[in-house]
């Protein structure tokens, strides 16, 4: 202890002596980069430096915020235009430029769309008919998930997998004039992959399925009706994304019953496709009259109608996330198949690069 006390005193003496020097150092410090806390070996000191840096950053941030608010207020008072708000940097808006992003005025794209495998369904030449099956071993959440898929996708039929090869199933489905096959693959009693096969020649998409929440696990869930759902496809921008989007679109009939107020959403964000299934309702918010007792019924009703219209959502059906692993040209064929797109590790050059 004595030694420690001595050292402390020594340090105090030094710091007292070199007060001017310290100030100099402080002045220099902002110009020069501060010592990285990670390079300090003593934990206490490291923590101290770290907290100091954090504190400074916080102060700086606050100062900036105050400045901005002051400027805005000033502009408001003077009636000038507000200074532009800085747009936060997100991974999406920092996306690596991609030349394959579809443009709305691209004639070649539409010509390509007309020629592709889904144009028949999407032009309502025939209604989609879906065969849903599983992998060979299927239990627990798999069947539950499939029963919910059956309520989501109209005109879907479940067939037991049995011990058939997928190629045989494809043949059978072709004969029965199905337009798509959906295979739910489970691993350790948990659905983990989804295979969508377009028929008769359509591509085969292999998705990883994750974060599956079944209907009964969703709070305040609704029960879907048998109306044809509306479809919302978000953010399928690139050529590949466009194709995958069209493929998913071709699972659903293209004539939604708007009376059913049922909507199925496929939202793509950072190459993950989020599936949601909702019912919506347009509600008029009631505005309570100020003097409720003094007025008669008619005025009450009038004021009710004046209320703002809002849409309320109720989630029903499963909730899951898909990620594309591969898109194969032609029907399922692992051996001789040609891939239109396969994810390869060398393609991950940046976490701001997306393919859909």
């Amino acid at each position: 202890m004595g030694m420690g006390g001595k050292r402390k005193r020594d340090e105090g003496g030094e710091s007292g002596g070199g007060g001017a020097a310290e100030e100099e150092v402080r002045q220099v410090n902002p110009q020069r980069k501060q010592v990285l806390p990670s390079s300090i070996k003593n934990k206490d000191k490291r923590a101290a430096v770290h907290s100091k840096i954090k504190h400074e950053k916080k102060l700086e941030k606050r100062k900036k915020q105050k400045d901005r608010e002051a400027k805005e207020k000033k502009a408001m008072d003077l009636g000038e235009e507000l200074p532009p708000r800085p747009v936060p940097h997100t991974i999406e808006n920092q996306r690596v430029p991609d030349e394959t992003i579809c443009k709305p005025d691209d004639k070649e794209l539409f010509a390509g769309n007309d020629a592709d495998e889904f144009s028949g369904v999407l032009k309502r030449e025939f209604t989609p008919k879906i065969l849903i099956t599983t992998c060979r071993f299927n239990s627990t959440r798999g069947p539950a998930f499939i029963s919910e898929l059956l309520t989501v996708i109209p005109n879907a039929h479940y067939y037991k997998r049995g011990t058939y090869d997928l190629k045989q199933i494809v043949k059978y489905a072709n004969k029965k004039e199905f337009t798509s096959i959906v295979v739910v693959h489970t691993n350790r009693r948990e659905p983990d992959a989804l295979l969508i096969i377009g028929l008769p020649e359509g591509p085969t998409a292999h998705f990883k399925l994750s974060s599956l929440v079944l209907r009964k696990d969703i709070k305040n869930h609704g029960n879907p009706t048998r109306h044809m759902p509306e479809l919302v496809m978000n953010n399928f921008t690139t050529r590949l994304g466009h194709r995958v989007g069209r493929m998913i679109q071709s699972l659903f009939p293209q004539d939604p019953n708007f009376r059913g107020r049922r909507v199925v959403t496929f939202h793509n964000q950072r190459d993950f496709i989020f599936f949601r299934h909702h019912r919506y309702i347009f509600d008029q918010k009631e505005i309570k009259p100020l003097d409720g007792k003094g007025k008669n019924k008619e005025t009450k009703e009038k004021e009710k109608k004046l209320g703002k219209v809002i849409a309320r959502l109720q989630e029903c059906g499963p909730r899951f996330t898909l990620k594309l692993i591969s898109l194969q040209h032609g029907t399922f064929d692992t051996k001789g198949g040609e891939y239109e797109w396969v994810h390869k590790p060398e393609m991950d050059t940046s976490r701001r690069r997306f393919f859909l």
Binding site: T100, G112, K335, E338, Y339, V342, S350
Partner: protein, 523 residues
């Protein structure tokens, strides 16, 4: 920190490629130097677009999108005098086009096109003495094995084919033909496909001269059914060695003179081999798979030299080797045309072409044309041309360095080079083969010489323009000197020095070339 590695595509030398897609469009991709790009920008009065030089771009698009006119196969005859391009469409149409402007010279329609699409097409390069000069001969092969050797008259009436010059025969009784190739001398053709073993035909007598035997059952007693997806001849003047790719992801080398089973056979990854192309050196093979892998292999040893990594994500339908530059182009289901450097196996450039591509060909005459037009059209832009020259010289240096590296590398791979050749081989063949067996080094030197020649070829057109350029340069300098500041004055002598150095270099090169020309003429 975000995980970021910048993917830099350095661009490629002036080349011209044509791609064919499933909507029946033909797109011309040119990698022009900075000159023409800037000119285009000036012409449209747009702000200057800063694009890196030598980035390939779509320059022309021929045809209207129509799925029934999907192009199945194409073949180019890029001779200097009379280039032609043959295209086979899904609706049974065969068209012969001018690869420079896309005009249709001749066309013919096959019957029964729905069940029996064309799978193979070859446009003959050599002049057929029996035919008039305004006609071309074509070899077509349908999936069911109907091979027709026909000649089309160029510019004549549509579907004007004379029946006496037409030869037709069938190469298979059952199965489907998926791949076919014609050798460099254009006397032999090879066919193969699903359920059809590789077979070689003599095109003059229309007779089968060789048929492969399916490989034996494997160790598990499993017989893999025959399904060839790609075939090519290993070298241009040797019709005996055939390289094939199979649906069971195998690359096989057949030697007609040795045995009926494959001489070398190896498996590559897990997806079918979809395209196979030979290199000019006669032993390297490039092949692409259905999973988007592109790799090169040395067929003397059967060892994969390496894969071309970085880019392709879809099945590779077609690979072509540029006849002069060390470049290959690949295209396929990922809707991109990609250029690769052979030596470094790095991507040089990629062009997104919106449609699934079925075939790509190079127009090897492009280099001279581009520079000539540039010289005639825009004499003011000579300085930039000069820069381009510099580029070329740099490239040359680089490539020579690479050659050196090769020299260092090659002696290590001293292995028994090729299979024993049968007695009935031609004399020429033996000449070619024997030195390789004895002295590898000699051969390498020859190869290097060849490379040098090629590079000189690249330089040739530039040299012709040199006097013109220098004159123009002089003019430019005079004009510039008046308003010039001191800094630029200081730069000037440097520039001139460079120019003088360059001219010296060129004189040296010319001298070299003269020396080399003599032996060439002797050949």
């Amino acid at each position: 920190m975000p995980r970021t590695t910048t993917v830099e595509l350095p661009g490629c030398p002036p080349i011209r490629a044509l791609t064919f897609d499933i909507l029946g469009l033909i797109k011309v991709i040119e990698s022009s130097s900075a000159v023409t790009e800037e000119a285009a920008a000036d012409g449209s009065n747009k702000p200057k677009v800063v694009t890196p030089a030598n980035t390939p771009k779509i320059v022309e698009k021929w045809g209207e999108p129509d799925a029934s006119r999907c192009i199945l196969n194409a073949s180019i005859n890029d001779s200097k005098s009379d280039p032609l391009l043959a295209v086979a469409r899904k609706n049974g149409q065969i068209e012969v086009l001018n690869p420079l402007n896309g005009e249709i010279c001749a066309s013919e329609t096959l019957e029964d096109n729905i069940n029996n699409p064309i799978s193979g097409l070859h446009l003959f390069r050599k002049e057929n003495s029996g035919l008039s000069s305004r006609s071309c001969s074509l070899l077509t092969c349908t999936e069911k094995g109907n091979v027709v050797l026909r000649s089309l008259e160029i510019g004549g009436p549509v579907a004007g084919s004379n029946d006496d010059s037409r030869k037709a025969w069938n190469v298979c009784s059952a199965g489907n033909i998926f791949c076919s190739a014609v050798d460099g001398t254009e006397k032999y053709a090879v066919f193969g496909g699903k359920g059809v073993e590789i077979n070689v035909w003599d095109l003059e007598s229309c007779s089968k001269i060789w048929n492969a035997k399916s490989p034996k059952k494997d160790s598990l007693d499993i017989f893999t059914p025959t399904w060839f997806t790609a075939a090519t001849f290993l070298s241009k003047d040797d019709h005996r060695k055939i390289v094939t790719g199979t649906n069971s992801h195998q690359v096989r080398l057949y030697d007609i003179s040795a045995q009926r089973r494959p001489v070398i056979s190896f498996a590559f990854r897990a997806t079918a081999i979809k395209s196979v192309t030979e290199d000019l050196d006669g032993h390297t093979i490039y092949f692409g798979t259905g999973g988007g892998d592109l790799a090169s292999v040395d067929m003397r040893t059967g060892k994969v030299l390496g894969s071309f990594i970085g880019g392709s994500s879809g099945s590779i339908r077609s690979i072509v080797r540029h006849p002069e530059f060390p470049i290959i182009a690949s295209c396929g289901l990922d809707r991109c045309l990609r250029f690769w450097d052979i030596k470094t196996r790095q991507p040089l450039a990629a062009v997104f072409l919106k449609q699934i591509l079925t075939k790509v060909v190079f127009d090897s005459n492009f280099c001279d044309k581009g520079t000539i037009t540039a010289a005639t059209d825009q004499p003011e832009k000579e300085q930039e041309n000069k820069e381009e020259d510099e580029d070329l010289s740099v490239r040359r240096k680089r490539s020579s360095r690479e050659n050196d590296q090769e020299k260092q590398l090659k002696p290590k791979q001293k292995k028994p080079v090729q299979q024993e050749v049968d007695d009935n081989d031609d004399g020429e063949q033996e000449k070619q083969l024997k030195p390789k067996k004895k002295k590898n080094k000699n051969v390498q030197q020859e190869v290097e010489d060849d490379l040098d020649d090629e590079q000189e070829k690249q330089l040739k057109p530039k040299k012709k323009q040199q006097p013109l350029q220098q004159e123009v340069d002089g003019d430019d300098d005079n004009e510039q000197e008046k308003p010039m500041s001191e800094d630029e004055d200081a730069l000037l002598p440097l520039k001139r020095k460079k120019a003088s150095e360059k001219s010296e270099q060129k004189q040296k090169l010319k001298a070299k070339k003269k020396k080399k020309r003599v032996p060439q003429e002797d050949d």
